[in-house]
């Protein structure tokens, strides 16, 4: 298709487009590179009062530590302030949220895709409204009951809440995915004597993985990126990475603490980089799946 006549452009237009794209790439990627570079400097360089080029050359870093790069920020965040504990909590939360919401979501999405009744429409509309709820409004509903029943502060509570918040999106995504798997597949299995659940287990599960992986990526992002739920529902020692970073900010007055936050931010961004690198195709197809369905 690339050679289609309609794709040919006069040179000025092409140059304009390429220029615009380069500008956009700078805007999109430069902040990350800048912060990655700066996280290996001392605070006086990354936040330089005198000259912004100090963040590049790092005269104070050289003066204070004797080398052009320092791991002080990382040392302070991961070891002194126990960021590793937050990272571990994030790992637990993310793995469990993704597993549980995919289990619930595949069952529900399959049922919604295969049932022709009118209530399917209503369930999907209610899910859409639920998807629009700001997470903080829900959190303000949880707090009082959770205090009373002593559920507040524990990891399992945050996990099940995140699973529930995740369900509307997961259902929408998997329903549209299951609708694309031909009905004949499981129906012929049922003609051969399978029950509905056997048909699901033996026929649908083996072919559903592309859709499940795509949906799983977005469940991962929701759980990993969440701030409202984890910040309000977890106590100090169960904190995950994002609220931990926010709590570094609360104590920025002391010198050097900002660099802990900078290093923590870089550490929390790194897994997302890797994720996009390996799953770019799935992320793009997942983002567009909903759109194409309308």
């Amino acid at each position: 298709m690339a050679s289609s006549i309609a794709d040919r452009r006069p040179f000025p237009l092409q140059a304009l487009m390429v220029g615009f794209l380069i500008l956009w790439l700078m805007v999109a990627a430069f902040p990350f590179l800048w912060t990655l570079w700066g996280s290996f400097k001392v605070e006086g360089d990354f936040f330089s009062k005198s000259d912004w080029t100090n963040a590049l050359t790092g005269p104070l870093t050289r003066a204070e530590t004797g080398a052009a790069f320092t791991g002080q920020g990382y040392q302070g965040a991961w070891v002194t302030n126990e960021f590793w504990r937050a990272a571990l909590n994030t790992l637990i939360v993310v793995v469990l949220v993704v597993t549980i919401s995919l289990t619930f979501g595949t069952l529900g999405g399959y049922a919604l895709a295969r049932s022709g009744y009118r209530y399917v429409f209503w369930i999907l509309i209610v899910a859409l409204v639920f998807r629009a709820m700001p997470h903080v409004t829900l959190v303000s509903g949880y707090l009082l009951p959770f205090y009373q029943w002593n559920l507040w502060g524990h990891l399992p509570t945050a996990i099940i809440v995140l699973v529930a918040i995740n369900q509307p999106f997961t259902l929408w995504m998997l329903t549209s995915f299951f609708q694309n798997i031909p009905k004949d597949l499981d129906e012929s299995a049922m003609v051969d004597g399978c029950s509905r659940f056997q048909a699901f287990r033996l026929v649908i599960i083996p072919v559903m993985w592309p859709g499940v992986i795509t949906t799983g990526l977005f469940s991962f992002l929701l759980a990993y990126n969440d701030f409202a739920v984890t910040a309000m529902l977890l106590n100090q020692e169960n904190q995950t990475m994002i609220p931990k970073i926010a709590s570094f900010l609360g104590t920025t007055q002391t010198k050097g603490n900002v660099m802990f936050a900078v290093s923590a931010v870089v550490s929390a961004t790194a897994p997302l980089f890797v994720l996009v690198m390996f799953f770019q195709r799935q992320i793009v197809s997942g983002l567009t799946a909903g759109a194409v369905k309308g």
Binding site: W24, P31, I165, N225, L287
Partner: protein
């Protein structure tokens, strides 16, 4: 599928949503009409050799008995909704009576906390939604114009602002526009004012939050439009060329109509997401200059004496706002469903 089978399949998902989305909404509704008990105050007279003094102390036992008897607090009806931090009906009536002209009236109303938050949330949504859709469309057109081998890496970098955690992405930008950061320095030299600080100025803070919003949500529009551009029928484009359509006319009359359904989808998703803007305000530490409805609830909840009722009332008002925003979509879906069914 039989009703019973359907029920068993949907059960785990439905229970989770019922318990942790539907019930909290009910819980928020109930909490918003109850206020915490007032502490029971008792007067104690303590005497020493010279004189007797009367002091007031909190009667802990009586207070506890009160809250054990009615754990929800005391029923206050719509009082919380109409108080100064929410709809402020009384204050508005007063401002209306005393203000000079409509501008002054609006100005004073926007100083009330709830209306301020509502104004920022709506401004943010109204600017970020169209701007990010337009920018995303422009990027999609540009990416579509470059050779295929470059597209992978370009898409990779373009996705980053969207994929990265909102709190983290906003922090990264915030550090750069800090008065001591690189963009802050550039802005200072552009404005010729060495003391320029975004943190100190409300309009600059609003602009910065909107810039962050566009930065973070354009990639989504870009990806959706880019996928849409791959499905534009080439035959139609070529026949439009034969009919003498210019490049602009082809864009206007072939490509844009083809992408119109995607635009509706993007509008829906983006309005929902922008209306709950929250994390950037935490990252930018912008609470003093800009509050969104979500941030307003969050700051009530995280204040030292957790204002649960106040947060609940704001939540109810926010939910109402969302229902108003979504109602056109729901009505439209309902109509199209009625036609197909």
């Amino acid at each position: 599928m039989k009703h019973a089978t359907f029920l068993w399949f949907i059960l785990p998902s439905a229970v989770a949503m019922l318990l942790f989305i539907a019930l909290p909404i009910v819980s928020v509704l109930i909490q918003s009409v109850y206020a915490p008990h007032e502490q029971v105050i008792r007067e104690v007279e303590s005497c020493n050799v010279f004189s007797c003094t009367k002091t007031t102390v909190v009667d802990v036992d009586a207070t506890r008995a009160l809250s054990d008897g009615a754990p929800m607090g005391r029923f206050v009806g719509s009082d919380i909704f109409t108080d100064r931090s929410h709809l402020a009906t009384h204050e508005i009536a007063q401002i209306w009576a005393t203000s000079h002209g409509i501008g002054d009236f609006l100005n004073q109303v926007l100083n009330l906390p709830f209306y301020g938050a509502l104004a920022f949330t709506l401004t943010y949504t109204a600017f970020v939604t169209p701007l990010s859709i337009l920018l995303g469309f422009a990027i999609a057109l540009a990416v579509n114009a470059i050779p295929r081998m470059f597209r992978g890496p370009v898409i990779f970098f373009s996705l980053l602002p969207m994929i990265v955690t909102p709190l983290v992405g906003a922090l990264i930008l915030f550090w750069m526009v800090d008065a001591r950061g690189i963009l802050g320095a550039v802005l200072q030299s552009l404005a010729g004012d060495p003391n320029l600080s975004i943190k100190a100025s409300t309009p600059l803070m609003w602009i910065m939050l909107i810039v962050y919003g566009v930065w973070a949500s354009s990639p989504f529009a870009f990806v959706v439009y880019y996928a849409g551009l791959q499905t534009v029928p080439q035959d139609t484009l070529e026949s439009a060329m034969i009919d003498g359509a210019t490049r602009w006319q082809r864009l206007r009359f072939v490509i844009i109509p083809h992408l119109l359904p995607l635009t509706t989808f993007l509008l829906l998703i983006k309005i929902m997401d922008n209306f709950r803007v929250f994390e950037p305000i935490v990252s930018f530490n912008a609470g003093a200059h800009a509050q969104s409805l979500s941030y307003f609830i969050y700051s009530d909840l995280s204040s030292t004496n957790q204002l649960l009722s106040s947060a609940a009332a704001t939540s109810v008002l926010t939910i109402l706002g969302i229902i108003v925003l979504l109602s056109p979509v729901i009505v439209r879906t309902w109509k199209s469903f009625g036609r197909t069914a």
